[in-house]
C-alpha cells in the first residue's frame, strides 16, 4: 500500500470512526461498542500490514510530504522506522484490547467512545509524525481526550487526578515548545526547520546548534519527556492518574502514553542535540537508577492494588531511561566508547518499552477485572482468588511474572539487557540497578500472595467473585501469549529495531564528535585569551 495512505489511515481511521458514532442510536450502547471495537481492530490490522510492509534494512519509510501551513514551513510529514513501528503496532494492539475492556463503562457511552477514538488518533499521530510541529500538535491532541476520560469516567478523586495529569504534561509541552522554537530559529527558519529528519541530519554534522545551546535545548526537551516517562522526581501524577482512571484508560496510559516519553527522547532529544544528550548522560542514568529503586520501594509500601502497579511502572520505565543514556565517550577525542554496549542498552530500552506495554497493560487489566466485581482495591482485603477464579488467577500470575522479569516472558529481556550493558558505563550504577530485581520480586510476589493465595477472600462482596468471562480471558490470554513470544524469541522485535537504532546511534555519535571538537576549540580559545 502507498505509505502516505497507510500512515494517514492509521491516524485518521479512529477519528472517522468517532465521527460516525454520531449516527448511532444512543440507547444502543452495545452496537456503539462493537463499532468502536471494529474500528480499533481495523486500525490494528493496518498497523500489522505496515509491520509486514516495512523492511528493516531500508531505514526510514517516509511518506510523501504535503503542505500544511507553508508560510511557517509546517508540513504534513509522516514516516515510520524500526523505532516507531513497534510502538505503532503496540498502540493498535493496546487500543483494541482496552476497547475490549471498555464494556464495563456504562456512563455516557457515546462520549466515552468518541474520546477514546480521538485519543487513539492522537497517539498514532505522535508516533508517525516526522514534522516537529505536527508532532507537537498530536502530542496536545492526545492530552485533551485523556483529561476528559479521567475527569469524567474516573474514580472518587477524578477531578484532582485529571487536572494534575493535565498540568504536569502541559508544563512539559511548554518547555518542548520553547525547544521547538529554538530549533526553528537555529536552523534559520528555512523550509526544513520543522523537519525532524533534516534537523537530525544537520545535528549529526554538528551544524545545528552550538554545544552550549544544545545542552539548554536538550534539558528543555528532556524535562518534557521525563514527565511523560515518568522519571523521578516528576512521577507523582502517575499514581493518581492511574488510580482514578477507569481500567481501559489505565491500560492505555501505561501501555502507550508512558512510551511517548521514551520515544520522544530517542526520536527527538538524542538526534537533535547529541552534545547535550551526552553531556547529561550520567545524570540521565542516575535518574533512571533512582526511578528503578525508588519506584520499587514505593510499590512495596502500597496497600492499593492499582497504586502498586502504577509505582511498578515508575520502576520499570526507569530501565528505559537507563538503557537509553549509557552513552560513554572518550573525553579527549570525543569518540564513542563501547558503542556496541550502548546499542545494546538502546535496544534493551526500546524492548523494555514494548515489554512494559504488554505486561503493565495486562496487570492493570487484571486489577480492573477484580475491581469490577468487588469495587475495592485494598490489598489487605483480598485473598483466595486462586480458588474462586482459577483461570483468571493463572493468567494474572503469568502477567505478573512478566512484570517481575521472569525469563521466558517479555519483561526479562528488556530489563536484563539494559542492566548487563550498564556496567561498561558505570559499575556503581549498574550494581544499583541490578539490586532492583530483588525489590521487584518482593513487591510482586507479596502482592500476589495477598490477592491470589490464601485460604479465603477477606473483603466485601464475596458473592460477586465469579469466574472471569470469555472476553476477559481473551484479553488476558492475548497479552500473555505475546509476552511469551517476545520472551522466548526476542529477535522478532530486535531484528526490526536494531538497524534503525544503530543508524540513530551512529548519527548521534558523529554529531557529538563535531560538537565536541567545537567545544574543545572554544575552550582552547578562551584559555589562550586568558593567557594573553
Amino acid at each position: 500500500m502507498n505509505p502516505l495512505f497507510l500512515l494517514s489511515i492509521l491516524i485518521f481511521l479512529p477519528l472517522v470512526g468517532a465521527a460516525l458514532l454520531l449516527i448511532f442510536d444512543e440507547r444502543n450502547a452495545d452496537a456503539m461498542r462493537f463499532w468502536s471495537l471494529g474500528v480499533t481492530l481495523l486500525t490494528f490490522i493496518f498497523s500489522v500490514v505496515l509491520w509486514c510492509q516495512y523492511n528493516p534494512a531500508e531505514g526510514m519509510l517516509v511518506a510523501d510530504v504535503c503542505e500544511w501551513i507553508p508560510s511557517w514551513n509546517i508540513y504534513y510529514r509522516l514516516g515510520v522506522d524500526g523505532i516507531s513501528l513497534p510502538l505503532v503496532v503496540l498502540t493498535g494492539l493496546v487500543s483494541t484490547l482496552a476497547m475490549a475492556a471498555s464494556w464495563s463503562i456504562t456512563k455516557h457511552v457515546r462520549g466515552y467512545l468518541i474520546l477514546f477514538l480521538m485519543l487513539e488518533s492522537g497517539m498514532m499521530g505522535v508516533f508517525l509524525s516526522l514534522d516537529f510541529f505536527l508532532f507537537y500538535v498530536f502530542w496536545e491532541v492526545m492530552l485533551l481526550p485523556m483529561y476528559f476520560l479521567i475527569g469524567v469516567w474516573g474514580g472518587p478523586r477524578k477531578e484532582y487526578a485529571a487536572i494534575k495529569f493535565f498540568l504536569y504534561t502541559l508544563a512539559g509541552s511548554v518547555l518542548m515548545l520553547i525547544a521547538m522554537l529554538m530549533f526553528y530559529f537555529a536552523s534559520g527558519s528555512q523550509a526544513d526547520s520543522f523537519n525532524l529528519l533534516a534537523l537530525a541530519q544537520k545535528a549529526s554534522q554538528g551544524g545545528l546548534m552550538s554545544p552550549g545551546t544544545q545542552i539548554t535545548a536538550f534539558l528543555l526537551l528532556f524535562i518534557g519527556f521525563a514527565i511523560k516517562l515518568p522519571a523521578f522526581p516528576v512521577h507523582t501524577w502517575l499514581p493518581d492518574a492511574h488510580v482514578e482512571a477507569p481500567t481501559p484508560i489505565s491500560m492505555i496510559l501505561a501501555g502507550v502514553l508512558l512510551k511517548m516519553g521514551g520515544y520522544g527522547i530517542i526520536r527527538i532529544a538524542f538526534p537533535l542535540c547529541p552534545y547535550g544528550a551526552q553531556y547529561c548522560a550520567w545524570g540521565l542514568v542516575a535518574i533512571g537508577v533512582v526511578s528503578i529503586i525508588y519506584g520499587a520501594f514505593a510499590a512495596l509500601a502500597q496497600t492499593d492494588f492499582k497504586r502498586l502497579v502504577a509505582y511498578s511502572s515508575v520502576s520499570h520505565m526507569g530501565y528505559v531511561l537507563l538503557g537509553l543514556a549509557i552513552w560513554k565517550i572518550n573525553e579527549t577525542t570525543g569518540e564513542t566508547m563501547n558503542s556496541d554496549y550502548w546499542q545494546m542498552g538502546l535496544n534493551g530500552a526500546m524492548f523494555q518499552m514494548i515489554a512494559h506495554g504488554i505486561s503493565s497493560t495486562g496487570m492493570f487489566f487484571m486489577v480492573g477485572v477484580v475491581y469490577d466485581r468487588v469495587h475495592h482495591r485494598d490489598l489487605n482485603k483480598f485473598g483466595g482468588l486462586m480458588g474462586l477464579m482459577p483461570l483468571y488467577s493463572g493468567l494474572a500470575a503469568g502477567l505478573f511474572f512478566a512484570g517481575l522479569g521472569l525469563p521466558g516472558l517479555c519483561g526479562f529481556i528488556g530489563e536484563v539487557f539494559v542492566v548487563i550493558s550498564t556496567w561498561s558505563f558505570s559499575p556503581m550504577l549498574a550494581v544499583l540497578s541490578a539490586a532492583g530485581v530483588i525489590l521487584t520480586a518482593g513487591y510482586i510476589l507479596w502482592a500476589m500472595q495477598r490477592v491470589y493465595l490464601g485460604a479465603e477472600y477477606r473483603g466485601p462482596h464475596p458473592e460477586a467473585l465469579t469466574p472471569s468471562n470469555g472476553r476477559e480471558n481473551a484479553v488476558a490470554a492475548i497479552l500473555l501469549g505475546i509476552a511469551i513470544v517476545l520472551g522466548v524469541y526476542p529477535a522478532v522485535l530486535f531484528d526490526v529495531m536494531e538497524p534503525s537504532i544503530k543508524a540513530m546511534a551512529t548519527a548521534a555519535a558523529e554529531g557529538y564528535r563535531h560538537s565536541h571538537a567545537e567545544a574543545q576549540a572554544a575552550a582552547g580559545q578562551a584559555q589562550a585569551a586568558l593567557n594573553r
Binding site: Q302, G384, V419, I420, L453, A491
Partner: protein
C-alpha cells in the same frame, strides 16, 4: 554427526516435559479431577527423556570408545609434572573425536597412527549441518589426553545481535552434561511414579486441607489439584534440563530463574496455607538476592569478555570465529592464571578473535568479582551460608517436591554451576567457595541434631551435604564435589521419598517424637531408609572396601565423602593455614552420622510413642515402594569402585585440564592439590572419616537406639545450646531485623516522600498560584476597578446633585436667566478696565 545426534536426543529429553506441561495444565483444568492421565503423561515424558539421555550417554561413549573409563588404568602412570602425557588407548579413537581433535589438539600428544583422512569427512558433515547461525561443531576441549575428552557445542537460535555482540541459546554437551541429564531424568522418573501414589488423595472433587483453616475454624475444602502438581513437576524438569544443557552462562541464568519459579510454584502448591505461600516467597526472594550477585558476575563477564558462550564458536572451516569463555583466561603450563605484574591485569586470551571485545585485558580483581558474583547465585540456589534459611521452609511443599527439587536436583544446580564455571574461578574465589561450603556443612549439621520434624532433619542434612560439595569444589576437588553431587542425589532423593512414605503412612504426621517402632508396620520403607542413612553417613566395613567384592560393603556416600575429605586433607597439608577446611568437615561427618541414625532410630526403632499414629500407620502401596527399592540399589552402589569406578570417571571425563595435576603456588598464593597429592592421603583421610562416622553412629545408637540414656535429661542440661540450635542459630530473626523490616521502612519512607514532599511542593505551588490569582483579582477589583468606579461615581454624583435644578417650571427658569444676566453684568462691570 555424533554432535547432532546428541543434540537432538537431549533436545527431545529437554522439550518433552515442556509439551507435557502445556497438555497437563490445560487438559487437567478442563478435564476430570479424578483422572490420572496427567500423571502418566508426565511420567511418559520424563521416562522418554531418561531413555534419550541414556542413549545419548551411550552414543557419546561409543563415539570416543569409552576412553574415559580406560583412563583409570593409566591413572597411576600419569605424572603431575607433564601436562601432555599421551597414553595408549586400548580402543582405537573414534573418527569423530579425532577429526574434531584436529581443530585444537596438540599434534604431539596424539598417536602417530591417527588417520588424518577423517578430517574432510567431518568438515563436510559440519557444513551440511550448519544452517545460518546454528552451526553444530565438535571440538576438543583440551590437548591433555586427546582420545578421551570430547565436547560438543553449538547454537540453537539467536536472541539478539548488537554490532559484534551476540546472545543466543546454545548447548554444551560434555560428560558432565550427560551424567547430569541421565541422573536427573532417572531420579525424576522414580519420583514421578512415587508421587502418583503420594498425591492420590488429590484425586477428588473435594479435597479437605487439614492444615489450612478458614476464619470460622473450618478446614478448607477445595477441588483436588492432582493434574496441577504433575504439570508443575514437568515444567520443573524442563527448566532443570535446560539449565544443564545450557551452552552459555546467560542461558544458565535464564533457566536458573525458571527453576526458581517452579520451585516457588511447588513450595506454594498448597496455596491456601499461609505458611506455604510465605515459604515460597521467601525461597524466591532469597534466591533473587543470590541472583543479584549472579547478575553482577554476568555484567563483568559481558563487559570484559564480550561473550557468554562457554565454548569457542567455530565456522564451517573449523576456524575459531569467537573464543569461548573457557579458553579466554590465559593459564601458564602449571595452571596458574597469568597476571601482568605491572598493573595487575590479565590478558584476555584470543581477544583478537573476539571482534566485539573492546577490552583486551581485565583487572585481576574483577575476575574475583565475576567469580564471586556467579558464586553468589550458587549460594542462593544451593542454600549455602548465609542464604541457607529458605530451604528448611521449602519443606512446605509436597514431599516428592522436596525429594526432587529441594534435595536431588535444583539445589544441586548451584554446585553444578560452580563446577561448570570452574575454569573462570581464580583461587581467591575457590577459597571463598571452600569456606562457605565448610561453614554451611557445619552449621546445618548442628541444627539437624535438634530438629524433630522428619523432613526438616533431611532439609538440614541436604544443606550440610551441599556444603560438602562446595567444599570439595573449593579445595580443588572438582571431581570429588560433583561426584558427591550425584551420589547425594540418589541417596537423598531415596531418603526423602522414604520420609514421604512415612508421612503418607502416618496420615501426614511429620513429628518424629510421635513415631517410633515403625519398622514393624512399614518394613520396606524402614529398610530402604536404612540404606540411605548408611550411605549418607559414609559407613563402610573397614578392611573390606577394596576393589571387587569388597565394594558390597561400601555405599556410595562413603566413596564420595571420602573423596571430598581426602581432597580437603591434601589441600590443608599443602596450605596449613586453612586447617579448618579439614577439621570442620571431619567433625561434620561425625555429626552427620549421628543425626541420620538419630532419625532412623527415632522413627523406625524402639517402641511406639504415639499409639494413635502407630495404630493407623501402614506400609505404602507398590507404586511408592517400588521407586524406593530401585533408588536404594542405586544409592548403595551407584558409586561402585569409588574413584576408580565408572561413575567418577565419567563425571571427570571432561574436567578442566589443569585440575588433575594441581596447581603449584606462586608467590604468596595457595597450592592446589593434584590427584597424586590426594591419592597419597586418601587412605589416611578415609580412616579419619570412618572413625568419625562410626562414633556418630554409636552415639546415636546410645542415645536413641539403646534406650539406656534419658535424652530429655540431656536436653534439659544443655538447654541453652539446644535453644540456640532449635532456633536455627537465630538467622531468621537476624535477617528479619537486618533486611526485612528496614526494607519495609524504606518503602514506606519512599511512599511518604511522594506524598509529603513532591506532592506537597506541587500542592504548595498550586496554592501559591491560587493565592497570586486572588491578589490579582483583588488588585483588579480594588485598585483598577476602584479608580474607574471612582471616576464614574464622581460623574454620577455630580450629575445627581445637579438634577434638582431641572424642575420644568418656566418662571423659575426665567428667574435663573435674570439672575444669570445680572450676575454676568456684575462680573462685566467689575472686571471691565476703566
Amino acid at each position: 554427526m555424533v554432535g547432532e545426534t546428541l543434540r537432538n536426543l537431549l533436545l527431545i529429553a529437554w522439550l518433552l516435559p515442556l509439551c507435557g506441561f502445556a497438555v497437563e495444565i490445560f487438559g487437567g483444568f478442563w478435564g476430570s479431577r479424578r483422572s490420572r492421565v496427567a500423571a502418566w503423561l508426565a511420567v511418559g515424558c520424563i521416562a522418554t527423556g531418561f531413555v534419550c539421555s541414556a542413549s545419548a550417554l551411550t552414543i557419546w561413549g561409543n563415539a570416543n570408545g569409552w576412553s574415559v573409563l580406560h583412563h583409570a588404568e593409566h591413572h597411576a602412570d600419569e605424572t603431575a609434572a607433564d601436562g601432555h602425557v599421551a597414553h595408549d588407548s586400548v580402543t582405537p579413537p573414534a573418527p569423530e573425536t579425532l577429526a574434531a581433535a584436529d581443530a585444537h589438539a596438540d599434534a604431539a600428544a596424539k598417536p602417530a597412527a591417527e588417520p588424518d583422512a577423517q578430517k574432510p569427512q567431518d568438515s563436510s558433515a559440519a557444513a551440511t549441518t550448519a544452517h545460518n547461525d546454528s552451526a553444530d561443531h565438535d571440538h576438543q576441549h583440551t590437548a591433555a589426553s586427546p582420545a578421551a575428552r570430547t565436547v560438543y557445542s553449538g547454537t540453537f537460535y539467536r536472541l539478539a545481535t548488537f554490532g559484534s555482540l551476540e546472545l543466543s541459546l546454545d548447548y554444551y554437551i560434555d560428560s558432565l552434561t550427560l551424567v547430569m541429564f541421565t541422573m536427573v531424568t532417572f531420579i525424576a522418573t522414580c519420583i514421578h511414579l512415587f508421587a502418583i501414589g503420594y498425591m492420590s488423595e488429590e484425586l477428588t472433587e473435594e479435597y479437605v486441607d487439614h492444615h489450612a483453616h478458614l476464619r470460622n475454624g473450618h478446614h478448607v475444602h477445595r477441588p483436588g489439584r492432582f493434574y496441577r502438581f504433575f504439570a508443575f513437576l514437568s515444567l520443573f524438569c524442563f527448566s532443570m534440563l535446560g539449565l544443564v544443557l545450557a551452552g552459555n552462562i546467560f542461558q544458565v541464568f535464564i533457566f536458573w530463574e525458571l527453576v526458581g519459579i517452579c520451585s516457588f510454584l511447588l513450595i506454594g502448591f498448597y496455596t491456601e496455607r499461609k505458611s506455604a505461600s510465605t515459604a515460597a516467597n521467601k525461597a524466591f526472594i532469597m534466591n533473587r538476592v543470590g541472583d543479584f550477585g549472579f547478575l553482577i558476575g554476568l555484567m563483568v563477564v559481558w563487559t570484559y569478555f564480550g561473550t557468554f558462550k562457554f565454548a569457542d564458536t567455530v565456522d564451517v572451516d573449523g576456524h575459531v570465529v569467537q573464543a569461548g569463555l573457557f579458553h579466554m583466561l590465559p593459564r601458564a603450563a602449571d595452571g596458574n592464571v597469568i597476571i601482568n605484574p605491572e598493573n595487575g591485569e590479565v590478558q584476555i586470551g584470543a581477544a583478537a578473535a573476539n571482534p566485539g571485545n573492546t577490552h583486551k585485558t581485565i583487572p585481576y580483581y574483577l575476575l574475583v568479582v565475576a567469580g564471586l558474583g556467579v558464586f553468589a547465585g550458587c549460594i542462593g540456589k544451593s542454600a549455602q551460608f548465609p542464604l541457607q534459611t529458605w530451604l528448611p521452609d521449602a519443606m512446605e511443599g509436597p514431599t516428592p517436591v522436596s525429594a526432587l527439587v529441594h534435595s536431588a536436583t535444583m539445589v544441586a544446580a548451584g554446585v553444578y554451576l560452580t563446577g561448570r564455571f570452574y575454569p573462570m574461578f581464580v583461587q581467591e574465589v575457590l577459597l571463598t567457595i571452600a569456606y562457605i561450603g565448610c561453614i554451611t556443612a557445619f552449621v546445618a549439621a548442628t541444627i539437624a541434631i535438634v530438629a524433630t520434624d522428619i523432613k526438616k532433619v533431611l532439609a538440614y542434612s541436604t544443606i550440610s551435604q551441599l556444603g560438602y560439595m562446595m567444599l570439595g569444589l573449593g579445595v580443588f576437588g572438582w571431581g570429588a564435589g560433583l561426584f558427591h553431587l550425584v551420589t547425594h542425589a540418589f541417596f537423598k532423593s531415596l531418603m526423602f521419598l522414604c520420609s514421604g512414605s512415612v508421612i503418607y503412612g502416618c496420615h501426614h504426621e511429620q513429628e518424629m517424637p510421635k513415631m517410633g517402632g515403625l519398622w514393624r508396620k512399614m518394613p520396606i520403607t524402614a529398610f530402604t531408609m536404612l540404606v540411605g542413612v548408611m550411605a549418607i553417613a559414609g559407613l563402610a566395613v573397614p578392611g573390606l572396601v577394596g576393589p571387587g567384592f569388597g565394594q558390597l560393603f561400601a555405599f556410595s556416600g562413603f566413596h564420595s565423602k571420602d573423596a571430598v575429605v581426602a581432597t580437603a586433607l591434601a589441600y590443608v597439608q599443602a596450605n596449613p593455614a586453612h586447617f579448618l577446611l579439614f577439621i570442620l568437615p571431619l567433625i561434620t561427618a561425625g555429626i552427620t552420622a549421628f543425626y541420620m541414625f538419630r532419625l532412623w532410630f527415632y522413627t523406625f526403632a524402639g517402641t511406639p510413642r504415639d499409639h494413635h499414629v502407630y495404630d493407623h500407620c501402614h506400609e505404602s502401596p507398590l507404586i511408592m515402594t517400588g521407586p524406593l527399592l530401585v533408588l536404594s540399589v542405586l544409592a548403595a552402589y551407584c558409586a561402585w569402585g569409588g574413584e576408580q569406578g565408572s561413575l567418577y570417571l565419567l563425571i571427570t571425563g571432561d574436567q578442566p585440564a589443569y585440575v588433575s595435576h594441581g596447581i603449584p603456588a606462586v608467590a604468596g598464593a595457595l597450592t592446589m592439590p593434584g590427584h597424586d597429592a590426594v591419592h597419597a592421603v586418601h587412605h589416611q583421610a578415609g580412616t579419619y572419616a570412618l572413625i568419625a562416622a562410626f562414633s556418630g553412629t554409636f552415639l546415636a545408637w546410645l542415645l536413641y537406639g539403646s534406650g539406656k540414656v534419658d535424652v530429655a535429661e540431656i536436653k534439659r542440661q544443655l538447654g541453652g545450646v539446644h535453644g540456640f540450635l532449635a532456633n536455627k542459630w537465630h538467622f531468621d530473626e537476624l535477617y528479619d531485623a537486618l533486611f526485612m523490616r528496614p526494607t519495609h521502612v524504606v518503602g514506606r519512607f519512599c511512599a511518604s516522600i511522594d506524598r509529603l514532599i513532591f506532592d506537597a511542593i506541587l500542592h504548595g505551588s498550586a496554592a501559591a498560584t491560587v493565592l497570586v490569582a486572588k491578589w490579582d483579582r483583588a488588585f483588579d477589583e480594588k485598585v483598577v476597578d476602584g479608580l474607574v468606579n471612582l471616576l464614574g461615581n464622581a460623574t454620577w454624583s455630580a450629575g445627581n446633585s445637579l438634577k434638582v435644578l431641572q424642575t420644568g417650571r418656566l418662571r423659575q427658569y426665567v428667574m435663573f436667566i435674570v439672575a444669570g444676566v445680572v450676575a454676568l453684568f456684575g462680573v462685566l462691570l467689575a472686571t471691565f478696565p476703566r
